[in-house]
């Protein structure tokens, strides 16, 4: 079932070759041997003109299950992931109940396996109920069947410096890391959008850049002091990039992600008062977008992460202040990453693979993902058409929700196929309905 022959793909932009997959793993790469071809009896995919990339890995996905199945489920969210070229997603902990126990993270992982569209790696909460007071049972989640390595109170900042220090120290025992949502809460009380000239004019309370930068600076110091690993979620400001750059130069164990929307949109979008543009951290200024793009190309920012945040209609069809923050991302992230890295003609596919697949897989500890095709590796790939363009139509998205800020936008690069352990989850640009391995 999972034997596959991908023919004439441009392998990560480095030249054409075939990839032969047996039992979900790569058997041969390049030109296939006569023996290999003769004994092959599986699916043949003609990938002429397509670029093969290691399957994308998302460090930051809100799948909303358990708790808000009206906005997204593990099933619909991983279908959206596959459609976007992803083979693995890290599910954030802010479900209801919160993923702060072994039971919840194991349930989420099991739902992912049952759906079969992408590997779902749960992220555990740092604190009980994301309340920022008491450490969650991090060890139990790490030693559970879900093997949680990354912990985050995302949506909330671990703002208490003592709790952050303890969490950083505690996860060292099993090589874990803390993914910090950097937002000093006292500086962002009631905040609705980026603080600046636009928020001043719109009368929406501002979310100052310094609220992110102050926490990043503090946590860089804590990570260096404790010798632990810290990862910064959704970095959104130019100054944050500067702090992370300096930290890396000193050898701090620091990694960082950027969201597609922070690579493309600015706070000018808030002028519509349409809360589809409300997100946390907020859309910033054009100068921030340019610095984030450069930092991504350079590698100061390690990875693109979607912060895919589905919301029910009523949570966006309302006043800006009443709306929930967050936007869809899984199905548009690849295209926007290509735009941010120079567009389909100029993009270095190897850099794209590094930022959207290999590095995020390494950060999350997903050893079977983020691998270029080599004999023996799991066949987790995506095939993209670098010459195609598409228009974002909310109703056509695989996600259960519709809150994409890119509606009507024409984007480069389409996902033609996604393979999870050699099995197509997407083929000819369409989601495969039969996914049982």
């Amino acid at each position: 079932m999972t034997d596959l022959l991908i023919k004439a793909a441009d392998l990560i932009g480095k030249g054409r070759g075939d990839v032969l997959v047996r039992d979900g793993r790569v058997a041969e790469v390049g030109s296939i041997s006569a023996a290999g071809a003769a004994s092959f009896n599986g699916t043949v995919v003609d990938a002429d003109g397509l670029v093969l990339l290691p399957g994308l890995v998302d460090l930051h996905t809100h799948l909303r299950e358990p708790g808000r199945e009206d906005a997204e489920t593990v099933y619909t969210g991983t279908r959206a992931a596959a459609k976007g070229g992803y083979t693995a997603v890290c599910a954030m902990a802010n479900s209801y109940p919160v993923a702060d126990t072994a039971g919840v993270v194991e349930q989420v992982a099991a739902l992912g396996r049952a759906a079969g569209y992408a590997d779902v790696q749960p992220i555990g909460a740092v604190s009980v109920g994301l309340a920022g007071e008491q450490l969650a049972e991090i060890g139990a989640m790490a030693h559970s069947a879900a093997k949680v390595r990354m912990f985050s109170d995302d949506g909330h900042c671990v703002s208490d410096p003592v709790l952050m220090r303890r969490a950083l120290e505690y996860v060292k025992t099993f090589g874990g890391l803390i993914a910090q949502h950097a937002e000093e809460p006292r500086l962002t009380e009631g905040a609705q959008m980026n603080e600046g000239a636009v928020s001043a004019e719109l009368g929406l309370p501002g979310w100052p850049a310094v609220a992110e930068e102050a926490i990043i600076a503090r946590d860089v110091l804590l990570a260096e002091y404790t010798g632990a690993r810290v990862h910064f979620c959704h970095v959104s400001t130019a100054r944050s990039v500067a702090i992370i750059r300096e930290a890396k130069a000193r050898g701090a164990k620091v990694t960082a992600e950027v969201c597609p929307h922070h690579l493309l949109l600015t706070d000018e979008a808030a002028r519509s008062y349409d809360p589809v543009y409300k997100v946390n951290p907020p859309l910033r200024r054009e100068a921030d977008v340019q610095v984030l793009r450069a930092a991504l190309a350079e590698g100061v920012i390690d990875a693109v992460a979607t912060d895919h945040a589905p919301h029910a209609l009523q949570d966006k069809q309302c006043e800006w202040a009443a709306a929930r923050p967050g936007m869809l991302g899984l199905e548009t992230a690849l295209s926007i990453s290509v735009v941010a890295l120079g567009g389909p003609d100029a993009v270095d596919w190897d850099v794209l693979a590094e930022r959207t697949s290999r590095t995020p897989a390494r950060i999350a500890g997903l050893e079977a993902h983020g691998r270029d095709p080599q004999p023996g590796t799991e066949a987790n790939f995506t095939l993209v058409d670098p010459a195609a363009t598409w228009t974002v139509v909310p109703e056509d998205l695989a996600s259960l929700s519709r809150n994409t800020p890119y509606a009507g936008m024409r984007l480069p690069v389409t996902v033609e196929a996604t393979f999870l352990r050699g099995r197509a989850t997407v083929l000819n640009g369409k989601i495969e309905e039969e996914t049982t391995e």
Partner: protein, 306 residues
């Protein structure tokens, strides 16, 4: 003009037209035995107020009634996620009832703009959060025109809590559009970030900022702001930014003192100043009715049959 949401979106011609029609409204009604015009007979104006504001609601209601419109007061609970009907559902209800115009006061900035997406009728912003209050700015401009003989080239100081003031924002855009020089004066804690990008001068020293102004507009400052450390105490605020008799004497003789109300006497404005002949506070209230008549008339008739 289909809606009136902000003064920023008005062209100078539109703003001047509103002020001109305001004058016509005042002339037409003043001195009549029955102060009523038939212009909006048979039209329904809904006052949709999510904040208590008897002053503004009464002003709009009076304006609509003087134009013979039917007025429906729709007092709504603050819309938050879990309480009350959503703004969209309320809009769909008003739409189904056939409201010709909706006058909305709402604590959330941008709520009137959202309303325009769900309603066919005209939407008139009567104050949204800390964003805009266009009819207040228009009535202030009309008052200045009356008292100062014009707006072009005049200097207006707006003093106090600019950060939380929709009145200040609407005045800034309108006054700049009409050719006035605007000075904002207040403690840096109550001035928005990055307003150096706005068409204004910024001052922290009230005494210095009063030199050569034609009008000074005092904004209401909530005493409770001291709890969030915007200023140390109400007394210190009054000392540094309150308009008292000593400061009144620093103004040029022709300069006027304005306040959108409701006032905190003794806080941003001394009682004697508020009651002085240079204060235009009650005139502003009267002019508010004429301005709101003009706006309702223009929005609902497209200025036809004038």
């Amino acid at each position: 003009m289909k809606h009136l949401l902000t003064t920023k979106e008005l062209s100078r011609e539109e703003a001047e037209l509103i002020l001109e029609v305001t004058q016509q409204m005042a002339d037409a009604v003043a001195g009549r035995e029955v102060p009523k015009l038939p212009a909006l007979r048979g039209r329904t104006v809904v006052n949709l107020f999510y904040e208590d504001s008897t002053r503004t609601r009464t002003s709009f209601e009076t304006a609509a009634k003087r134009l013979s419109a039917d007025v429906v007061n729709f007092a709504a609970k603050t819309s938050s996620v879990n309480k009350g009907e959503s703004l969209r559902d309320t809009a769909l209800t008003l739409q189904a009832m056939g409201a010709d115009a909706v006058v909305i006061r709402h604590p959330a900035a941008g709520a009137p703009q959202r309303l325009t997406e769900w309603l066919d009728g005209a939407v008139l912003n009567a104050g949204d959060g800390t964003h805009a209050h266009p009819t207040q700015a228009l009535l202030d401009a009309y008052t200045m025109k009356q008292r100062l003989g014009g707006i072009e080239g005049r200097t207006v100081a707006i003093v106090g809590d600019i950060l939380h003031s929709r009145v200040a924002r609407s005045n800034i855009w309108l006054l700049a559009k009409l050719g006035a020089n605007v000075r904002l004066v207040g403690p840096p804690t109550l001035l928005p970030k990055d307003i150096d990008e706005w068409p204004v001068d910024i001052g922290y020293d009230l005494d210095a900022s009063l030199k050569g102004v034609d009008a000074v507009m005092m904004l209401r400052v909530q005493r409770e702001r001291q709890n969030a450390s915007f200023f140390p105490t109400a007394n210190e605020y009054a000392r540094l930014y309150g308009l008292d008799e000593r400061r009144l004497a620093l103004l040029p003789d022709h300069a006027i003192v304005m306040h959108p109300g409701p006032m905190n006497r003794g806080m941003e404005i001394a009682a004697t100043v508020a009651d002085s002949p240079r204060a235009t506070i009650t005139e502003q209230v009267t002019n508010g009715v004429w301005v709101r008549m003009a706006v309702l008339y223009l929005l609902l008739t497209n200025g036809e049959a004038r």
